[in-house]
Symmetry: C2
Subunit: 324 residues, 2 copies
């Protein structure tokens, strides 16, 4: 039986790469069809404000506000608030724009009033005209701890302050055992026809999402066709430390190394045309391989990759799911 294109799609996303593909999926799908489940283990407090880098990158990208060059932050933003903070003698080590501060200020106010993060992000998304559902993986705080030879590092300390220079020997997620999936996450996974693991870092973007208690089970039980898109092209990460982490954690440093991490959990893996020779290695892991151009430029390019991925997923044989 020829499948029709997916109606309910869930994307699991980290920051910039995830946001780009999520935008492509939002363009390729009818309104209401897309739910993006976003990593929150990078979230942290700065100057008393709650910062959610991945959620905001997804929000700004879907809202059409994202800085097109750096991928995060708001296009054309200024940094006068941060300069004001620096004038008071604080180190402005984490770049926050002035328009961006509005998000952190309002989110923090709402969190302090007791609103759950998922409800707050839904309000912000509506205000920005985002029709996709953007869900944090959890409303409960989880914090990625990066283990290195220099000791344990808070994620943003490793990622921004120390510029990913440290060799990562392990990753763990503080408070993950008490985290619950945000409202709607398990239901979205159960109802999905397609689940796309975005081209995000498998260790610090995708792994924490799947580590939320109950979430991996819902992912595995879902009858959806599950596709991952490689964040590694030509043996290097498009952005961030994924390649360096693959090496220091003992994996092969290429798209097939990422595919191996998802082996047994996904049906298909999308890899870049530069890595066409790796297709058979991917297929030997027990999954299908799609070779196409995965390096995303502007919105049209993102929609093209999303469309190809969805069309490919729709061609997989239908499968009986477990209890939804």
């Amino acid at each position: 039986m020829e499948s029709t294109p997916s109606r309910n799609v869930v994307a699991l996303a980290g920051g910039v790469g995830g946001a780009k593909l999520a935008q492509g999926l939002a363009r390729a799908l009818p309104p209401g069809a897309l739910t993006v489940v976003v990593n929150t283990a990078d979230d942290f407090d700065l100057y008393g404000l709650r910062i959610c880098p991945d959620l905001d990158t997804v929000l700004y990208t879907l809202g059409g506000l994202a800085d097109p060059t750096q991928g995060w932050g708001i296009a054309g933003d200024t940094t006068n608030t941060l300069e004001g903070i620096a004038r008071y003698g604080l180190d402005p080590w984490f770049k926050l724009g002035d328009r961006d501060f509005a998000t952190h200020i309002l989110r923090t106010e709402r969190l302090r009033s007791g609103a759950p993060l998922s409800a707050i992000m839904a309000e912000l998304a509506v205000a920005l005209g985002v029709s996709a559902r953007v869900l944090p993986m959890s409303d409960d705080p989880v914090a990625t701890i990066v283990e290195t030879a220099e000791g344990d590092l808070a994620f943003q300390d490793y990622f921004v302050a120390r510029r990913q220079q440290d060799d990562v020997t392990g990753v763990r997620f503080a408070e993950i055992t008490s985290a619950r999936p945000a409202p709607g996450v398990l239901q979205a996974l159960a109802a999905a026809q397609t689940i796309v693991i975005c081209p995000s870092n498998p260790f610090v973007s995708v792994a924490p999402i799947l580590a939320v208690p109950g979430l991996r089970g819902a992912f595995e039980r879902s009858a959806a066709v599950k596709i991952a898109v490689s964040p590694i092209v030509g043996g290097a990460a498009i952005k961030g430390p994924a390649a360096k982490m693959l090496a220091s954690l003992g994996h092969r440093v290429d798209a097939a190394g990422v595919a191996a991490l998802y082996s047994g959990s996904i049906d298909g893996f999308v890899l870049d045309e530069q890595d066409a020779t790796l297709a058979s290695a991917v297929e030997s892991l027990g999954m299908a391989a799609l070779v196409t151009r995965t390096v995303m430029g502007g919105p049209e390019d993102r929609a093209r990759l999303a469309g190809e991925t969805l069309a490919w997923a729709a061609g997989f044989p239908a499968r009986a799911g477990s209890a939804g």
Copy 2:
């Protein structure tokens, strides 16, 4: 005996007018001689941040950052954070600049960590190179309530949102009975040779300071020469609703009307040369009168008025104070 110029000077100040004279005093005095006690009854919470308009106006003015045209806010500031907030659908009714937000963010963080407002403002003042002591009247929150025909209004609602259009029938200060003078305020009053009531609104800037329990007593017991500078020139307020309030609260609407409010508490009153004919009316209230140019332009002008006021105060006969 000819007095020497005052060594310890305390200024009681509200916002823009108070800040201008405080800057003049800081220029006219040696470092460490000036303590500015600032009204905090206008303070309020906005977007989860603690806003202290008068303290910040004094801080920015003494730090040389204040917008020279409007008197409040930071020169050359942008409003992108506020525009970001408006994009989320909130009314940006209270103007906050991007550099200005840095103050509110850091203050709020420190307040939430348990630091007293006086300690926070001291830290911010040091960072901005302000050598005068800037003290809030109290570390405890006090809120001016403006009574009008339309009912009770929160101060900023009356002052900013409703543009001072309502006739004020009364003013009261919520939580004033439990407020304690900030550390250093009573000592500064006791040690002062001169106390200057700045050209600030007598009802909503000066009155709340003196209404903090213990503060009026310390003011009255102080052996300092006490001088007030008129905020009313030519029957109108330099800025704000002081003249309108004088009328609606049943006082004469001129400099002598202000002097009458301080009658019995001060030794001298400084009024503008435009109001020279009111000098005898002021003197009939049992205080000396100094006629000079009180409308302040730039920093030199402020220093001139401050210098004249201090020189005049130094000529008053020395007085035995009560127990300091």
